[in-house]
Amino acid sequence: MTEHPSQSVKFYQTGTHTVGNRLLDETKRTVQASVDRSNAITSGHRACQGCGEALGARYALDSAMRATDGQLVAVNATGCLEVFTTPYPETSWQLPWLHSLFGNAPAVATGVAAAFRVKGRKDVRVIAQGGDGSTTDIGFGCLSGMFERNDDVLYICYDNEAYMNTGVQRSSATPPFARTATTQAIGEAPGNVFGTGKNLPLIAMAHNIPYVATASVADLHDLEYKVTKAMGMRGARYIHILVPCPLGWGSASDATIQVARLAIESGLFPLFEAEHGEVTQVSKIRRRVMAEDYLKVQKRFAHLFRKEGKDVDKIAVVQRMADHNIKRFGLMDEETAQ
């Protein structure tokens, strides 16, 4: 069994926090540290400066390429990732890659997997991927079907919490109070409505599929471990990766990883793995921060931090969400949780 990276190598200068480490055994370094990584999305793509999705997708696909010896096909839903990598006739993809429609990536991937099965190519593996719009809204039916049939596909959702490519419209993954083009920061209840939306990792778990995991661009070792583990399994698998969007979130382009880190360290985005509907591993919070620390670095929450004073009540609501996650997933050890 692959060992979770947080459990190994504590005493080196940087342990397993950095991408590489000259003192670390080659096998313990990330795929990203290697000069032989496949660079699944090559340079020249048109993602914004500091794009979390471009980064997260390369992280995930490079490690899937390593895990499958390069025998990999990716099916893409419509979305930023598709648009910024393939302004026809240019492409950034360094692996066989297919795009059909916004909503049907899971079904197309099911078909691709079936075709390879018929051809007897057990070695070729299939990944379907999309943003939160195609995953939680438009392609949700197809995805649920793919889960329910336990098709041999790893589906990866790159969650940037809104429709960024078309101008930052709300999706069912947009968090409460976030300003988007369709949930303006005006009126009595500015930003997105509280209590709506979907938690797709939990919904995926409810399908009892072999593997569900969450990951983020802030913890590369964890992300690579989960993708590698998923590629070692058969059947329907789901990984949900948090990828901050500087444009839509109103964060600095150099803060993409830091914002993702704050989401994790506040408890707002728990990192965990689940097999057949049961949580099997959680990543503990290392240096806890408050929800406010996460919110205040993003302009989409600027209305909670007006000059006249902070919106203490709403910030407290978000803090309660974080606290709830910490309890529910056991994100902190008993002593440190005090």
Binding site: H17, S43, H45, Q49, Q258
Partner: protein, 548 residues
């Protein structure tokens, strides 16, 4: 590029091209550049050691390479790792994360390892045919001799005493600096090609130039004359001075008899060492009387703590007013708003058999009075210019005898600095120190990436043996713990090839050049997002505005 291949499916009319044709570097308004910054430890080291540089090799377990870097600046790491007050650690950025890197402990480990393995420094320069006389075999003289020899000059050290080492031998006691260590490092300097002449007090400086034909002279005679004050006494008991006591500890064949109750007067490191020595010699009561409080004392806090642990009693804020045989009348003092002690008019008495004065030392400049041009500053030290040269051309000076903080480390640094200036002067040039990089401040680091790793504690000798023997108090780190400690270094300001920039660039615009070769930006594609700079643990990347 229209599609004419009938095998390609319908609806593909253009061959796909690569996005590499799209040079996104044109989007950039800020560009990342790699930089090297000065680590605070290096900046703080009076001996000018490249601490981060040698820790880098130690982290790999390549101790000899580490030691080779170390001895480029300091020929006595085993001594320094024991007696240096390590200003590097007070400056170390890691103290703001958990605790400073125990630089001294790793240095000591490397120094001891070198003595065990018999490592020799590499000679770097061919012989120049120039002859330099070094007066005094203390740390400053030894360091100067070593560096001058490295630079290719023939060096003779003349030492007035019977043994080399200066205050490292006749001041610092054995329990802090074992003599086999001291002897080992001095012997290595001599074996490196330096002539050492003992029992040779130098009295006539001009003669060294004129009749003996030395091309330059470096003097580092230290400060050995004990300061005294007069205390009204009805009938005084035994009064000694600290420097002589510590000196006699080395030379006297018989154990010294200091008496049952000893008062040491003073608050510097000498006072602490003498009191601790008295305790070890069997004094039932070893007391220190000092006129200010702990905050103002010149000794370091840990020295007072170690003394107290061994049972030394410190009477803060007291001056000795009168002595009547064994009865000492002391007056209580108060610190005023200016930090000065003021008399209170309240008195008490202490009983003791012996008084040891530890009030500091002056420089014996008598042999310099007649040397033309040499200027003695008001507090009795010798004036030197920024090249460490005295007013007499070709005569240089350093260490305790010139204005300085009076530590072994400063003395060693002076020796090195003087050697470079002497070398340049002998060649008719001026030595220019290489320009310093900007400081790698803590706020430039991204400390998320460093593992939590508190400092390792060196073992201490048990208290009974500390009170009764001269065995070394502070123990060694062993190999694995020294390695751990070296690896706590954050590599402030200088790339240590963690691959973060290479990994976090969303545009693959960082090229990895391979071990030891670092990285390169591919500016054709770098969009200038700044993620590499933000996520660089050690602050080795700057974002600078793009030239318009």
């Amino acid at each position: 590029m229209s599609n004419t291949d009938p095998k390609l499916p319908y609806a593909i009319t253009l061959d796909p091209g690569t996005s590499l044709a799209n040079h996104t570097g044109s989007w950039r308004t800020f560009m990342p550049v790699y930089r090297d910054a000065l680590p605070p430890c290096n900046n703080a080291c009076p001996a000018g050691e490249n601490i981060q540089g040698w820790l880098y090799h130690a982290e790999e377990g390549n101790y000899q390479a580490a030691w080779n870097v170390l001895v480029q600046d300091n020929p006595m790491p085993a001594i320094m790792g024991r007696v240096c007050y390590h200003p590097c650690e007070s400056a170390c950025n890691r103290k703001d994360l958990d605790e400073a890197v125990a630089v001294h402990a790793v240095e000591r480990f490397l120094g001891d390892e070198a003595l065990k393995q018999g490592w020799m420094p590499e000679a770097t320069h061919a012989d120049t045919g120039k002859r330099v006389l070094v007066v005094g075999a203390g740390p400053s003289g030894l360091s100067a001799a070593y560096h001058l020899r490295r630079l290719g000059h023939a060096v003779t050290i003349r030492e007035a005493g019977p043994m080399a080492g200066g205050m490292m031998r006749f001041g610092i006691p054995k329990y802090r600096l074992p003599r086999d260590i001291l002897d080992g490092e001095i012997a290595r300097i001599v074996n490196f090609g330096v002539t050492l002449e003992l029992n040779q007090k130098v009295e006539d400086i001009p003669a060294a130039f004129e009749s003996e034909g030395f091309d330059a002279v470096f003097i580092a005679v230290g400060a050995h004359l004990a300061k005294r004050i007069d205390i009204p006494a009805h009938a005084a008991g035994r009064i000694l001075d600290a420097a002589s006591v510590l000196h006699d500890m080395e030379t006297s064949p018989e154990p010294l008899q200091l008496g049952r109750r000893v008062i040491v007067y003073g608050g510097g490191n000498t006072a602490m060492d003498v009191a601790r020595t008295a305790k070890r010699l069997g004094a039932e009561e070893a007391m220190i009387v000092y006129r200010r409080s702990r905050t103002e004392m010149p000794a370091h806090d840990f020295e007072a703590t170690e003394a107290e642990q061994e049972g030394v009693l410190i009477h803060w804020l007291r001056t000795i007013k009168h002595i009547d045989e064994t009865t000492f009348t002391v007056e209580k003092m108060e610190i005023d708003a200016n930090g000065r002690p003021q008399a209170t008019g309240e008195f008490e008495t202490l009983e003791a058999d012996t008084l040891i004065m530890a009030l500091g030392q002056d420089v014996d400049t008598s042999f310099l009075q007649s040397v033309p041009g040499v200027k003695i500053a008001r507090d009795g030290v010798v004036d030197v210019d920024e090249h460490m040269m005295t007013g007499y051309t070709g005569l240089f000076a350093g260490g305790d005898m010139v204005p300085s903080e009076r530590t072994v480390t400063v003395a060693v640094g002076h020796g090195k600095k003087a050697a470079h200036h002497i070398d340049a002067w002998l060649k008719g040039q001026t030595y220019v120190k290489p320009a310093k990089h900007p400081l790698a401040a803590f706020d430039k680091l991204n400390t998320w990436y460093y593992d939590d790793a508190p400092q390792l504690v060196q073992p201490q000798l048990d208290i009974i043996r500390r009170q009764t023997s001269f065995d070394e108090v502070i123990g060694d780190l062993d190999e694995s713990t020294a390695l751990f400690e070296a690896r706590r270094c954050l590599s402030c300001g200088n790339c240590f090839e963690c691959d973060n920039c290479y990994g976090v660039c969303p545009d693959n615009a960082v090229k990895k050049l391979g071990p030891g070769k670092r990285f390169e930006f591919l500016y054709d594609f770098c969009k200038g997002c700044g993620l590499c700079a933000a996520e660089c643990p050690c602050g080795a990347i700057d974002m600078i505005p793009e030239a318009s």
